[in-house]
Symmetry: C2
Subunit: 245 residues, 2 copies
DNA sequence: CGCGATTTGTGCACGCCTTCACAAGCGCCT
DNA sequence: AGGCGCTTGTGAAGGCGTGCACAAATCGCG
């Protein structure tokens, strides 16, 4: 799922870390579990069954149990999972106990919104620096943070202890920015630009392409339309039924 | 990968559609191939090898060939793929030959940026209506489009022929909006709100959660840090090497 | 103290996806 | 016309992920 491979150093029998190596699919679901757990905690639940948590997270309960079992045994048979304890565990695994410093590069249309997105702060991240190459934008404040020129990136990364970079530039600038981020010591990049980034081993890149998501939906629309339009197999008109649960 | 199942009507031997049933994993990659193909076309390439296209799309060449083989044989052995022909094919499969009408609900911080995101228009989509529940925002223009009140959603969906809805509201409002979209006849939803939506069968939901992507990166940061901190296995300091390609 | 109800943790089988490796096919050059 | 190099398309194998179904474990109650 991740676009770059991870420098895993598989053979290392001597220095066995206590860090569990979770399946990538499990990792991708942990944040969803965490969100559901926070909701449960707010609504006053002390414990939750795998069935309940699975429903809140929109997954199968067997899958959830298997996922959690990879972290260790934090449930009690006959009772369920301790919500507070599980939150701590998941947050620890995800490395959210330390609020990570994030740099955002590109404060155009999308970047501006990301800079003001409070969902980051509320889930363990601090955007500590904003950068742009456009002199027009440099120096202006966004959400209480001044936009700095991209040239200052290297210094800022070191000073602020930044480990994650978010790229929200146009596609043609993204690779250059990625190179600078990597050179400055950033080892994780979230890329919103519609292009492939090449980075050295050991650097993780995740890509979010908003148009791609729509295109995937478009495919399914196309498929559904071609099915209902068939002479033989007319599906129930609008596909609307009662909403279950 | 998709969060909801698809009403597939598997047993229907009589009405065999010419529509190929592609693996979900392949579908998710087609938009990436398409983007790479457009880049190649712009740079004047008439044909491209699987190796070349795979590199441009950031995937394995064998995987790309298998993906494309599912669409049919559009390559020429010894030569490669005809770029223009392949673009047409992929766009047809993705249903992008008709520019789909999209409704965007919630023009807050993120929604505002999505409304102005030109990546949608340039890749086959038209945002034709904006909605919000906040009277403060209703009536104001964004990118040449007036924000309408959410109550008008039902009528607008029918009038404008909207088939895709984008939810960019706070989490607590998302399910209500989804219900209204579905009731109005929308059968595909892109959800940016951090919550699970429940929709009837036949409606596709895709979710994009920006914070989750960061949390996944955070996990890998945590893992990398715990590895380098080990006494035995110190990895090469910054992990920086020459960038390939 | 024992029993039943409940829920976790997991062995197992199945299916999807990826990757390798190679035969088949196409164009070009001689 | 024939052969050679290149590239596609695909059979087969392996790995990963999912979901079922059940044994193991815990709590509460009589």
């Amino acid at each position: 799922m991740s676009q770059q491979r991870h420098g895993n150093t598989p053979g290392n029998p001597g220095a066995v870390t206590a860090f569990p190596d979770l399946p990538e699919a499990t990792i991708a679901r942990l944040p969803e579990y965490l969100r559901a757990l926070h909701n449960l905690a707010e609504s006053g639940s002390d414990t939750v069954s795998s069935e309940g948590l699975a429903a809140a997270a929109g997954v199968n309960s067997a899958k959830l149990r298997k996922d959690l079992s990879h972290l260790g045994s934090y449930g009690t048979r006959g009772v369920g999972y301790d919500v507070a304890l599980l939150i701590d565990q998941v947050e620890y695994i995800l490395g959210l106990d330390e609020r990570r410093a994030v740099a955002l590069v590109g404060v155009g249309n999308l970047g501006h919104a990301l800079a003001g997105y409070d969902g980051f702060a509320s889930r363990g991240f601090r955007i500590v620096a904003l950068f742009d190459a456009d002199a027009e934008r440099v120096g202006k404040p966004i959400n209480g943070l001044l936009v700095r020129h991209i040239d200052e990136l290297g210094r800022a990364v070191v000073e602020e202890g930044i480990t994650i970079g978010v790229i929200a530039t146009p596609a043609n600038a993204a690779q250059g920015v990625a190179d600078e981020l990597v050179a400055a010591g950033v080892t994780s990049i979230l890329n919103f630009a519609p292009c492939v980034l090449s980075v050295p081993a050991g650097v993780d890149v995740r890509k979010v392409d908003l148009a791609i998501e729509l295109q995937i939906l478009s495919f399914h629309e196309h498929r559904k339309a071609s099915l209902t339009a068939l002479p033989g197999g007319r599906v129930d008109e609008s596909g609307i039924e009662a909403v279950g649960s």
